[in-house]
């Protein structure tokens, strides 16, 4: 059975990765997951300088989902390279580093520093909803996005470049196309959807940041629709993210056109979620008598069957 997929020139042993911000720097999961079995590890977003993050409460649960406003807390580039990367390099998996900057220059400096560090890909976070400066405008302005992606592509020689798209746009296909035209090797989507929750007893917001990003099964139908739209708009690989907690969810994204998937909030419910999803995909392929995972990608049939009462 062939589970290999390619993200640009990067070959993954299977299509299951972790989503940035939900898997720490890998070490947090060492007793639950054999990192060697993952398609790729996407680490917590890295900025040039360390960021301390937002005050508490940073998370709150909502029906079938959760809001978070962590505020991009991270150890910064230098400590990542010195303290976190050596651990990850001890595994036979792909290392993808999510990066974020407040200016194009910061993205370029991060990209250059990571290019020769032994990682496999960078994922440009242009869509984090939880910081006032930076992030979101790169993801919602096609002109700026195009400039950012082409500058980063010019700055790197070896790493694959993935753009993580914001769901906060009216036409995701256009943004995926913008990233492709600017030279991106792949796009990943969706990031969390901005949301909020209020405690009606105290009359106060449930998050200190007031708003946060919604994730979990609650956003899966939206994510799936956007992945399907993006996959129809571009030829580069699309990486599907959003509410994937089991193998069935992952297969849905593959059928919608995703070449690979990222598991995020699902890791919190079940720290072994990625391993169970990889096993579940294999079981699915066996049951459907499919030898190659690539046959599943974009395999959605045109219309729903009549009288489909099974759902």
């Amino acid at each position: 059975m062939d589970l290999n997929v390619d993200i640009g020139k990067l070959r993954l042993k299977n299509p299951v990765m972790t989503a940035s911000g939900t898997f720490g720097y890998g070490e947090e999961y060492k007793e639950f997951v054999d990192l060697n079995n993952l398609g790729a590890v996407v680490v917590k977003g890295i900025s040039l300088n360390p960021m301390e993050g937002n005050p508490s409460p940073r998370i709150c649960e909502t029906p079938c989902g959760m809001l978070n406003a962590i505020g991009l807390q991270n150890v910064g580039l230098e400590r990542f390279l010195k303290e976190k990367l050596p651990y990850l390099r001890g595994f036979r998996t792909r290392i993808i580093v999510n990066i974020l900057g407040a200016s194009i220059d910061e993205y370029i400096r991060l990209s250059e520093a990571l290019d020769d560090s032994g990682i496999d890909a960078i994922e440009l976070n242009v869509s984090c909803p939880n910081v006032k400066k930076g992030g979101i405008s790169f993801g919602t302005d096609r002109r700026i996005l195009s400039k950012l992606v082409s500058k980063v592509k010019q700055a790197v020689r070896s790493v694959v470049v993935i753009v993580k798209l914001s769901p906060n746009v009216s036409d995701i296909g256009e943004f995926a196309k913008t990233a492709e035209d600017a030279g991106s090797d792949a796009v990943s989507l969706i990031n969390t959807i901005p949301g909020m929750a209020i405690d009606i007893e105290t009359l106060r917001p449930k998050l200190a940041n007031i708003t946060g990003g919604l994730s979990g099964p609650a956003i899966k139908p939206i994510a799936l629709r956007m992945v399907w739209e993006a996959a129809r708009a571009v030829r580069i690989p699309v990486i599907g993210i959003g509410g994937i907690v089991n193998a069935g969810d992952a297969v849905e994204f593959l059928l919608a056109g995703a070449t690979a998937v990222q598991v995020g909030t699902g890791n919190f419910l079940n720290p072994r979620a990625t391993m169970e999803i990889i096993e579940g995909i294999q079981t699915y392929l066996k049951r459907k008598k499919i030898r190659d995972i690539k046959k599943v990608i974009g395999g959605l049939h045109g219309t729903a069957p009549d009288h489909n009462l099974n759902n």
Partner: protein
């Protein structure tokens, strides 16, 4: 021996109108917890509620683990409906737990309300200690039989004076410390509602007493990945689930 495991519920009974005692038997060999550590416990069979809930372990009894929980919201309301024989997923033991008292110092364990769950096993473990335990009413004082048996240096207080001394923990703590000879070498271990912990930390600072508090935060994962349970300390934000939940009392920046 993974810290992610399945366990069978062997008992889930009420201790008072709002507090329950959950007993589970892990289905695999699991690591033994230390006092002050906690477990993430699944509170439903669906994705609503989505996240596991953190609970201090109360005590280990043979091959079972016991937890105290108060009904607070959707998760705990569902948890209370779980009956004997049901299996649930759990993660644990998690967090750092209480450090041992330094040589020659007397531990003073302080609990407010269901905070007793966190310090109970430490009470059992320590040979020599004082225990100060407060709650709103007599009905909310839990595990009294076990505590009474354990030690005669137990001070109970209730806000309404329905059991033990009258008043909140901080007042009773001040009275207790006033009654001791100055220079007594106590080390405090406290768990309870935030206002109580803050009051205890003020008293500890005023009197120059060392100590530790176990804090409560909303948690996403429980094992250090989501960074959701940030606690503000004098050394920056720390994760309640990983660097905590037990912190040196003077390190917490009370908001």
């Amino acid at each position: 021996m993974s810290r992610y495991f399945r366990a069978k519920i062997t008992e889930n009974s009420s201790l008072n109108s709002n507090t329950f005692l959950l007993t589970v038997k892990p289905l695999v060999h699991v690591a033994a917890p230390k006092p002050g550590q906690f477990y993430m416990i699944e509170a439903g069979d669906s994705y609503d509620p989505l996240l596991k809930r953190p609970f201090s372990y109360l005590r280990k009894r043979g091959d079972t683990l016991q937890f105290l929980y108060a009904i607070r919201g959707k998760g705990t309301s569902l948890l209370k409906t779980f009956t004997e024989g049901k299996t649930i997923n759990m993660i644990g033991p998690l967090g750092n737990g209480y450090p041992q008292p330094p040589e020659g110092m007397t531990p003073l364990l302080i609990a407010g309300g269901t905070g007793i769950a966190s310090i109970f096993s430490f009470c059992e473990e320590l040979a020599e200690k004082y225990v100060l335990y407060g709650a709103k009413t007599k009905a909310e004082i839990l595990m009294m039989n076990e505590l009474g048996k354990m030690d005669d240096r137990l001070i109970v207080c209730t806000d309404d004076c329905s059991l033990g001394r009258e008043g909140m923990v901080d007042k009773v703590l001040n009275d207790f410390l006033d009654s001791r000879r100055p220079g007594g070498s106590f080390v405090i271990y406290a768990c309870g509602p935030s206002p109580m912990l803050r009051a205890v930390s003020v008293i500890a600072a005023e009197r120059g007493i060392l100590g530790y508090v176990s804090v409560e935060e909303r948690m996403g994962c429980g094992f250090g990945a989501c960074l959701g349970c940030a606690v503000k300390t004098t050394h920056g934000y720390k994760r309640a689930c990983k660097e905590g939940p037990v912190f040196p009392i003077q390190d917490i920046v009370w908001i």
